[in-house]
Symmetry: C2
Subunit: 723 residues, 2 copies
């Protein structure tokens, strides 16, 4: 047998050539039409052997070029002895060489027009300074060449549709789920989970590795726009550019579901911060909030990543304004499903009278025809009744999804072998029914382990079949959330890449300066004046015409109340004494503290005490915090976050996430608060923080809210300055 390269599968017409020319660098990387393996090896224990074998076994129909200085032949292919021998314009080179050899070979690859390289070697940044230097050298090698790199320290990439298997695992089943991760074991785990739920299989897998060139956000945008990807499952331990990921995700999730499992969350909360906002937050809470804001479906459990990505890729979302109907053959499981839906915040549909009457006629007297519907034995001898019942449910306008729980697929095992044909036919009917209504149908069954044919029929029709009620309900909740999001009018993110933040040393501004900074952005802080002397204070109080608050201004004093730096109910008559009292108290608590002056403000009206804050998250950039303010701020930790800038809709959603929201409608003796005014205030704070490049922290606490008055009573800002 003569070793030959397999002929390219394409016919080479001019239309194909044009299409080929339009392919981007990432198209070439993730859907290659030719692959070189640099460091090909005849040792079956080496990646350079396994890679070539995997490409052959996975049915990759395009040319494969093994390269090794020794030449010869490998698995029926001629081995080229140098990169220079490669034909021009190979799409991808898998580099299976030790780290040290990588920079120079990348230069050679770029020189022969290779589109992209996948660098497996480890020993780079993750190992310390020497590795970091090598990684910098690698980056230098490709700078300006136009060649793109995945890795180093990656498990590889995979296109299951074409068999471009550049990762050292058996071929993944082809399907709609694309995967981004930094962990090779994660791919094995996803493969196992996908198998456990009977599909739907994978499209593109990218092991990101050290992301010297290509990062998560770029892959996300590319895959969301790629033809075969129905959803993207992401596992990330850290996003090198979180803001770019947010912007990419906000756009990608408009058309493609993105499911994300974060690793390293328990460590992420360790960083400390100066302000309350930071200390309450921990970046895990921030990350969760801003990723949700971008439409990402967050996964708490690693065993749900493959399942959720699979369901979201194959199943219609639950339309906004509809509920879920549970259809069951056992009361116990119907109740558990209803409980789990309630915990997930998903409404059970309230069935119409007509639906209930029709169900009663079909299912007979023992059935429960309110939602959850319990057929109570009616299907034991005729599983086809599930189709009739599901049809009635789908016709009810309150129903946006049907969750069938119990024994379906096992009737022929549990009751009578003769039921098998009926079950298989019913599966087909159920699938067609869901497709006709364009609504999700999900099936939970105790018999998935037996892998009955009816389950395969359902899955082929886009109906997920799961063994766990909890997984099924988790999936319904994700489909529900996606339906809500797709339906929200005005759902268009304001997220953008932030202006570059100014570095330097953090300075806490004194309150008058902080107030002026905030006011310059159009955010009122009410009437106030700075008194430089007792005499000015008396005059200011007299001018105010009402009792005032007097607050010390001193560069050393951060928490004014704690050093006796605040007096309330100050009148013109008492102002001089109050000034002296504050001065003495502050000097006693902080000897030598310079007192620049005192702020005079009219006593605040009653109102709800809120917190509005901002930080610049190291991963995600400017973030606004909102929640319950006042003295309870630390104990309650009632705070919601959004990446700034954000829309009015997003501000409203942020408000509603908090306990504070429950106090906005005239709670007890408190005045009602105009939610629109509050949302508008938050939007303006968001724009201010996003646009103020030297601002690093902002605390408005408390912000007093009463009707449409949204009034910061205390303003604290930290900015970066040189020196």
């Amino acid at each position: 047998m003569t070793a030959t390269h397999p002929a390219p599968a394409r016919s080479g017409t001019s239309a194909d050539t044009a299409a080929e020319a339009a392919r981007t660098a990432l198209d070439r990387l993730f859907d290659p039409r030719s692959v070189a393996v640099i460091g090909a090896s005849s040792d079956p224990g080496k990646r350079g052997y396994q890679a070539v074998r995997a490409l052959r076994r996975s049915g990759f129909r395009y040319p494969v070029y093994p390269v090794n200085p020794r030449g010869g032949e490998l698995l029926g292919l001629p081995v080229l002895s140098s990169v220079a021998q490669l034909p021009p314009g190979v799409d991808v080179a898998l580099v299976a060489l030790p780290g040290r050899a990588v920079p120079s070979v990348l230069r050679e690859l770029a020189a022969v027009g290779v589109g992209g390289a996948v660098v497996l070697a480890n020993g780079f940044r993750e190992t310390g300074p020497a590795g970091a230097a090598l990684e910098a050298e690698l980056a230098d090698a490709i700078a300006g060449t136009g060649m793109r790199v995945v890795g180093p320290n990656t498990s590889g990439i995979l296109n299951a549709a074409t068999g471009a298997n550049l990762v050292g695992v058996p071929q993944a089943p082809a399907g709609p789920v694309s995967v981004l991760t930094q962990s090779g074991n994660m791919l094995l785990s996803l493969l196992a989970d996908d198998r456990a739920i009977g599909g739907p299989g994978f499209h593109t897998y990218v092991g990101l590795g050290n992301q010297v060139d290509i990062g998560y956000h770029e892959c996300l945008t590319h895959l969301a726009g790629s033809r075969g990807t129905g959803s993207i499952a992401v596992h990330a331990e850290g996003l090198s550019d979180g803001r770019a990921f947010l912007v990419a995700a906000a756009e990608a999730t408009r058309t493609c579901p993105v499911v994300l499992l974060r690793g390293g969350r328990s460590e992420a909360g360790r960083r400390s911060a100066l302000s309350h906002t930071g200390s309450i937050a921990g970046s895990d809470a921030v990350a969760g909030a801003v990723l949700s804001q971008a439409g990402v479906e967050l996964v708490e459990r690693s065993d749900e990543l493959a399942m959720l990505a699979g369901v979201l890729a194959t199943t219609a979302p639950v339309p906004a304004g509809t509920g879920v109907a549970v259809l069951s053959d056992g009361g116990g499981q119907a109740t558990l499903a209803a409980d789990a839906l309630a915990r997930s915040g998903v409404e059970l549909a309230t069935l119409g009278e007509h639906t209930r009457t029709a169900l009663r006629a079909v299912l007979g007297p023992p059935a429960s025809v309110a939602n959850p519907v319990d057929v109570a034995g009616a299907t034991d001898s005729d599983p086809a009744l599930f189709t009739t019942a599901a049809e009635l449910l789908f016709r009810d306008p309150s129903v946006g999804a049907v969750l069938l729980v119990g024994l379906f697929g096992g009737y022929h095992l549990r009751f009578d072998a003769a039921l098998k044909d009926i079950e298989d036919a019913t599966a087909g009917d159920l699938g067609a029914l869901a497709a006709r209504h364009r609504l999700p149908l999900l099936v939970q069954s105790c018999y998935t382990a037996e892998r009955p044919a009816s389950h395969d029929v359902l899955r082929a029709a886009g109906v997920p079949v799961l063994s766990s009620i909890d997984h099924a309900v988790r999936a319904v909740a994700a489909l529900h959330r996606r339906g809500q999001r797709l339906a929200t009018a005005g759902r268009r993110s304001s997220l953008r890449l932030p202006i570059a933040r100014v570095g330097g040393t953090a300075h806490v501004l004194d309150e008058p300066t902080a107030r002026l900074l905030v006011e310059a952005a159009g955010l009122g802080t009410g009437r106030w004046s700075l008194a430089r002397s007792p005499r000015q204070a008396v005059a200011a109080v007299r001018a105010a015409g009402v009792p005032c608050a007097l607050k010390v201004v001193s560069p050393r004093v951060v928490h004014k109340s704690e050093v006796g730096g605040v007096r309330l109910g100050v009148t013109a008559a008492t102002a001089a004494d109050d000034w002296a009292a504050i001065r003495d108290s502050v000097r006693s608590a902080m000897p030598g503290a310079e007192i620049t002056g005192m702020i005079v403000t009219p006593m605040a009206p009653t109102g709800v005490e809120l917190l509005v804050g901002a930080t610049v998250d190291p991963t995600f950039g400017p973030v606004i915090a909102f929640g319950t303010g006042g003295v309870l701020v630390d104990a309650l930790a009632d705070v919601a976050f959004r990446a700034a800038p954000f829309t009015r809709l997003e501000a409203t959603e942020m408000i509603e996430e908090t306990v504070a929201a429950r106090m906005l409608d005239g709670y007890r003796h408190l005045p009602a608060v105009d939610r629109d005014a509050l949302a508008e205030f938050l939007v303006r704070v968001g724009e201010f923080v996003a646009n103020t490049a030297h601002l690093t922290e902002l605390d408005l606490n408390p912000v007093l809210a009463n009707g449409s008055t949204i009034l910061p009573l205390d303003v604290r800002a930290v900015v970066n300055r040189d020196g």
Copy 2:
């Protein structure tokens, strides 16, 4: 072939006879040595046929007596034509007859000394008044006979150890998990889940049905004391006597883990209640709290019930004061396991310097030897290194459990087929290691679906092997909680069956009466007096010698502040005017409201505002609520519950569950609170409520706490009275 009864397997010595005589009614029911099937049938579609078949197929070695008026023969057994023909003293009769026939047949069964009956028929209480009447008739039939009944409307009972299979499913694998449930499908689901995790199998299953006689609590006590039961998995939609269950569980969990999945939780929250405590609570929160108090491991997800019961039955608890070590062959999964442990509130062990040095020597430079330990490839060619590493971890005194995550069992599939023998041997070594240290080892593997032999070896040694990191961590958390509980000094429940509560009509006591009731129980409410006139009010304020609060006393006024019924800072000079102001305000808000007088109390000192309340839960009896008090009580819903009476330890645990606990150490300007004094106060409230049979609600809100002063500022009590 002649139909004969199989000979009893026992040899019939006198020792056996004595043992037989000592068997209780429940011993006879759940571990029968003879079974009668009433309503035996030759129709394979009928339970009366299936039951006899199931007993034969499941290897039940004791006599089986089919009974049917038609006589004849069934599956090789002679069919008796009446109950009267049964030999005396049959242990269990399975009654497979229609509901109507049940009461009279139960009388016949009792007459021939049958120990217990399992009544399958439905059509009783669950169907309405006619069914309830039939159920009462059933209860009458057994009253005073000594014969015990499971059901009606039950799926049956099962003893997997002896093959006493009185439930219509294939034989369950024999093992240590006993099951109590009301849903037949739940058993199918548990069988599937047990199979999915590779065991450990079942001991006794009881379908409780309508609980006309035997309820959950009696079964719990019986099974916890039975030889073969290692844990009890409970699924319940409602506990007919929740207090009895609590008392039984508090005792049972001292020796036998109890795992509980509740159904119907989302509906349970619907009941409304008069007081704040009730409205905040919803009985689901109460149920969760008091069941945990009794040591029950609560399951949120139905897919975790079988898994948790299996692990708790076979695996040692994590000793209190130790942490968990994660041992992994992939950084991604190690991180996810650490995250999940942190979320579960389980500590990662801090490894000693010696351990880390030793691990480094074994695993080499690339490994991460802090916890989580990542072998980073060291085991790829030698999985036996896991034993060496686990041994080092188990020897570290900070380590109370080892969680191995990754690919174990799949090394011979992933890397080299030659590794199979090493993996199998390593599994044996790991099992022996855990047994020697008497510490839990759990394994998570991506290869469970391949069912490698090494996993069976591990399981046989009591090492759970699970496919999901989340399940493994959930199991570790349960073992950790069990270890904590078993180690707590003074962990002896005060729970007892409550004194019978007094019925009648609910009356809200006026505040002076409520204060006297509470004070009579030794719970001080501070200085206060009741003024009947403005003159008495002035005198009372003067006697107090400090500014006072004045509060209206009126049978119609429940929320005093809302009708202007409270004035603060009242002095002797203002008391008469304040009286008038309150009177006018109350009359204006509630025309015709009778004003009995006004309570005079010295103005309260500063302090932390707490809530202490009590309700009589319809399921669980007297329950105490504790949390943040004052005006935020509704918005925060910060409340913990305990069934009363309870111990000082339980009171302390209740306090620590709340947000309020964060405010007890001198939070901001608030004084520090003596936690012991507060716990003692709660214990006394608990005793008071448990012992006061006519009390149905108590609200002490706010309770002001400052140092060791625990002072209710407002006392509201509801009692039952005739008329």
